[in-house]
Every structure is written in C-alpha cells, then in structure tokens.
Symmetry: none
Subunit: 200 residues, 4 copies
DNA sequence: GATGAATGAGGCTTCATTCAT
DNA sequence: AATGAATGAAGCCTCATTCAT
C-alpha cells in the first residue's frame, strides 16, 4: 500500500537529511535507507525539494498538536509554561533528528529559510500566547512578548541540541538529565539568575 | 600584497557562505564577489573546505577578543554579564552574516559540525566563567552553570538571528531596537518572567 | 543490458587510451566514442582510473588464455616456443592498440607502473615456463631463464610495436609481413646471429 | 650564469619526467626540484613541451656519441656488436631515468611519439650498421637487418628497464649483475637458445 | 635575469532527474 | 506501482602560462 512506502521514505529522509543537511543528502542514500528504488521516491514526490517540504509538513503537525495538547490541562499560565517547557525539551530530545533539521535549515540557505522560519514562528507563537495571557493575568512581568518568546525558544532548543549532539553515538539521554535541563531552563525563565536583593 | 587578497576573499566568502550555506556557495561566485579569478582563491586556500575553516578561525579570534575585552572594565559579575549580553547582541547584529554562518553550520551537516560546536563552546565558556564567579560570590542563584550558559547563548543568538533575518533587505537595525532586545534578554535572564509572589 | 554498454565503453576506452595515453585521454571523448553519456561511464566505473584498470584486467585474460591455449598442441618445447612467438606476434599485430597501451603504461608514470609490470611479468612467465622445460629436457642451452624470457618478450614487443605504429594510418599488416617478423625473431632466438664457426 | 641554471633545470626535469611521465609532471615540481622559481623555467624555455624536447635533444647527443665511440676500437663486427651490447646495457643502467623516459614516451601519447620513435630509430641504426657489415663480411647469418636490429634493441631495453625498475629504491645494480645481463643477451643474440643438433 | 602571485581554460566527478520496462 | 540504468548540467579543482616587479 502507498501509505507504507511513503512513511518508509519519510523515516529514511528525516535521518539522512538531519545527518547531512539538505544539500549533502543524496536521493540514492535515502532510497537505500528506505529500502526502495530511487525511482520509487520520484513516483511519490516530484523532487528532492518536495520530499523535504512534505516531510517537514508531516512532522510539524505532530509537534504542534502535542504542544497544544499539553496546555489543555489547565488555565494557569504559569503551569502552562511549565508544561510547555517540559514538553519541548522532551520532544526535542526524543526527536532530536527532526529538531536539528528544523533548526539548522532555519538558519541555512536563504532558499529554504523562509519556510522554516515561518514554521519556527508557529512554535514560538504557542509560547507567545501563554506569555501574553500570563501578562494579562498579571502573573508574568510585563515585557516584549515576542522577544521573550523567541528567547525562551532559543534557550530551549540550543540547550537541547547541544546535549543531543554532544556525542554522536549516545542517542539515549536519561530521564534524569531531561529533568535537569528542564529545571535549568525553568529556573532561569522563572526567577532569572541574579539574586534579587543584589540587583543594582 | 598577499594579505589584501586574502582579506578580499574572506569578505566575499562570509557573505556568500552566510547567504547560501556552505554547500550551495559556489567558488565561482565567491571569486566574482571578491573581484579575483577563481584560481586565485586556490592559490591561497587548498580547497573550499579550507577556505571555510580559515575564515571561521579568522573571524572567531575577533569576537573572542571583543567579548573578553568588554569584561575587563569591572570585576562585578552582574555588570560583566550585562556587558556580555550587550556586546553579544551588538556583535551579532553587526556581523549577522558571520553569526548566522556560525549557528547554521553548527547544526548543519555532521561533516563540519564538530568544529563548529567546539567554537560555540568557546563562546559559551566565556559566559560560563562569568556565571561561575557570580555564583561563587553569591550574586547569582546556584544552578547548573553549563546549562544556564548554553541557555543564555541560545536565547541571545536565536533572538538576534530572528531579528536580523526577519527581512532580507533590512540590514539596518536601529540602536533603539538593539537596546530593546538587550532589555528583553536582560529582564528574562536577571529576574525571570514569573512574578515572584505568585510562584507556585 | 548492462553487459553491452560495458563492452561498448571498453572498446572505446582501449582506442582512446592507446591513442593518447592515460592522462591525455578525456572521459568526454571516450563517452562520445562509445556513444553513451559521460555519466553512463561513471554509472559503471567509479573513476577514470578504475575504468582503466578494469579494462586491462578484461583484456589480459583474453591474451593469457590465447597464449596458454597455443601451447597445448604439443609437449615439445621447441615447437611450443615457436607457437608462442607466432601467437604473440599475431596477437600484438591484431590488438596493437591494446599492446601499445600495455607497454607504454608499463614504463609510464610510477603511479600505475607496478600494476602493469606485474601483468607483463605474467606474460613473461608463460615464456619462462617453456624455456625452463626446454632446458630441463636439454633442448635449449642452459642460461638465465628469466633474463632470456624478458629479452624474448622485449624483442617481440618492440619489433611489433615499431611495425604497427610505423605509419599511423596503416592498420593493416600483411600476413606475409607477419611471417617475416616471426622468422626474424625465430632466427635470432633459435640460432643467434653470429655464424658459429667464426665465433671468437 | 645561464648555462648553470639550464643544467639545473635539465637535471630536475629528467627525474620528474621519468618518474611521472610528461603529462603528470608539473612545472611547479620541476622548479622546486631544481631550486629555481617557476618563472625561471619559462625564462629559459618557452613551454613545458619545449623544455621536454630540449631535454631529449641534449641527452640524446651524449648517448649517440658514447655508442659510436665504443665501436671505434675495432673493425670486427662481432666485437663491435659485443661492445655495443655492453655499452647499451651499461648506459641504460646508469641513466635508467632517461632510458625509461625514452622508451615510455616512444609508445606514449600519439602527440609526441613520432619524435621519440625517430630518436629510437637513430639508436637502432647504429646497431643496424654493425649488423649490415657483419652480414656483408659473412660473419653474421643473412637476415632482415632492420628487424634483427629492432629485436636486439627491444631485448636489451626491456631487460634492463625491467631490472632497473624492479624495485623503486634500489638504484644500485651491481657490476656483476650487469655482466650477467650482458651475457644473457649475448648468448641469445650470438648462438640462440636452441641446441643446434636438435633443431628439427 | 629571476621571481612568484595571479589567471582561467579545461578536466574529472557528482547527483537530481527521467523513462522504458 | 515500482524499478534502476542512463543522462548531462553544474561544480570543484588543477596547472601551464603570464606579467608586474
């Protein structure tokens, strides 16, 4: 059935694309990895570019659903932000290969970066909505909501990627380490680093 | 004189590499941009790869010097961190082209990523040293120093890159906008986003 | 079918390589000569070098078979040597293009010469075995078998190549001329040039 | 003085050319080997081609003189042939690098081969003249003089080259081994390999 | 006379894409 | 639906040659 082959190809593609980046990834290698003939990829996707875009669309839906779902438990922005941070870290760790792809191509060649920045913007928007409500409800300090959201996104993604790709072999990051990273981020995002009394 | 040509080539190279990424950048275009013949590049650098590496080495020295210098004014970690944040934002804005290159290749193809992650680590180390002293002097909350440093680096770099490449034409970001970004970051890093009383 | 294209390419390759030598032969020209696209060669052979090596292997088998076969008629070393000389001259004349390639590259650039010398050694070995048996059976004068074999090989190959490439157009050497060359070689190899009585 | 530089360049050139063949030899390497700047070669020779031709002319004179000189001792063709064989083997061993160049280029690319074959022809002519007089004086068996001369030349050159380049390091071939090779060749050329009584 | 930085035409190789089966 | 042999445009790199000093 067609659906199967397509998913086979997607799975091979994320790995290869994430490993080498778009340009260095070869259709030959993706085909071999997927266990199909090169022609088969072209039967399902018009071009390398289109395969890539379809792949991103497919994977993006999942992460957005997941992030939105994790906020439905509660209406408290503080808790929602905490959930969000936890979920992002967890997702990025578990799908490091896709995460890396997302980030690297976003700052990659000008030809594809708009598409990716738009996608990243979608994720940041989810954060921003929480921040916005937090400020409205006077639970968060007033601030430039957009800047803050990007900063949080940056902090999370760079920290996690750094960890995920610290060692090429180690794909396994312990639950414990994940908690630790969430804590580090939370501490900074929630209370900052500077001990208040001393400020100024 | 040789030094001149080399710098000409470097300047052309940062732009082209940052615009298209390593793979899509063509030696032809770099040569044209630099106003030299293609062979001239190969007279000075053994390969595209080597040009790239030499370029990164050359540009990294400058930013490291700059960051180290901006901390020599004072011994107060709080002030040093502030200086660092200001300087990083300013530098990244002014050299967005190099900054983007650094970030994008760090998460790019495995072939070059180790080199780049090592370089990013050097920058993060500068932050980490300040954090470390801040904690030792009980000016900063105790925390995982390394994680915090990476988070700060991530927050700054993603925020700035997002701004710099928001619009391909606009290379000019106002002084005012820079201050605003520094403030956003500082606010988050110094006091966090959550109003303390409400926490938990 | 794949076998066909490969043989097409081989045939074009012997000619072009023999005409210009390895270095001056252009893949473009080989492709054009073979009536295939340049990429097709690279689909079947990893590189120019590999095409060359594969070609030599392919052609060497044929000549070795032929030489071995021509000795199976008889056990008389004198007759075997005569057959060998005849066959070598005939083969070299008919496949002058390959013969030339073999000889020229054997003394060509160090990079490939070992491979070729090893191949020539295989041919010389066939001669040497006959010489050896001839001496054992007291039909040939005792001598340094290896030296003698190389000398015979040198005499045959240089004489024939000289004839084949005397005139670039004339690819046709008459049966008669072939006999004559075989006779010249045989006379020298069998009885020497000096009239015995006069010797010293 | 100009003469010095020219000879320096010649010496570097024979080595490099003999090692890699004409095509793979780089002017850069010749210059470095000669201890002069690349431009200097072009000051003395119009092109790589011209350097090559000049080099061959220069070295050919020496060998022809030598061969002609070694026959002036005696009028006996048998002795002259013996001298010739000895001298050729000795020369080829001592100037293996030039010898190899001569042979390899003679069967090399069609572009230069005519020039080289003409040169080889000059050497063979020296042999042929001896053969001719030997036959006239009824000291040698009547035969195709030209074929016999080429065969002798082929036997000598292939045997010696094989020996010289048997091992890349060993440039030193003992006096003894030289005598042995001369003997092997002489035996074959003078009396042949087949014991007369048995012939047919 | 001598130098070596600069040049650019030319060659090898890669790889996305096509298409006949 | 699937295949994989064939294609050729495009890019990296080499290296003989030039020329200003």
């Amino acid at each position: 059935m067609s659906q199967e082959k397509t998913e086979q190809i997607f799975q091979a593609a994320v790995e290869i694309f994430a490993q080498h980046g778009f340009e260095r990834s070869k259709m030959d290698e993706i085909a071999r990895h997927a266990g199909v003939a090169k022609g088969t990829i072209y039967y399902h996707f018009k071009s390398k570019e289109e395969l890539f875009v379809a792949l991103m669309n497919n994977r993006m839906e999942k992460i957005k659903e997941m992030l939105n779902r994790c906020m439905s438990d509660t209406d408290d922005p503080v808790k929602q932000l905490r959930n969000l941070l936890e979920m992002m870290v967890t997702y990025l760790v578990q799908n490091g290969t896709f995460a890396k792809l997302l980030i690297s191509e976003a700052w990659g060649s000008v030809e594809r970066q708009w598409e990716f920045r738009a996608r990243i913007r979608e994720l940041v928007d989810i954060i921003e909505r929480v921040i916005h409500r937090g400020i409205s409800q006077e639970r968060f300090y007033p601030s430039n909501e957009s800047d803050t959201s990007f900063s949080i996104f940056g902090a999370v993604s760079v920290l996690v990627l750094q960890e995920v790709f610290r060692d090429p072999q180690t794909q396994s990051i312990s639950e414990e380490r994940i908690s630790q990273m969430v804590d580090s981020i939370e501490q900074m995002v929630y209370q900052g680093v500077v001990i208040s009394g001393y400020q100024e």
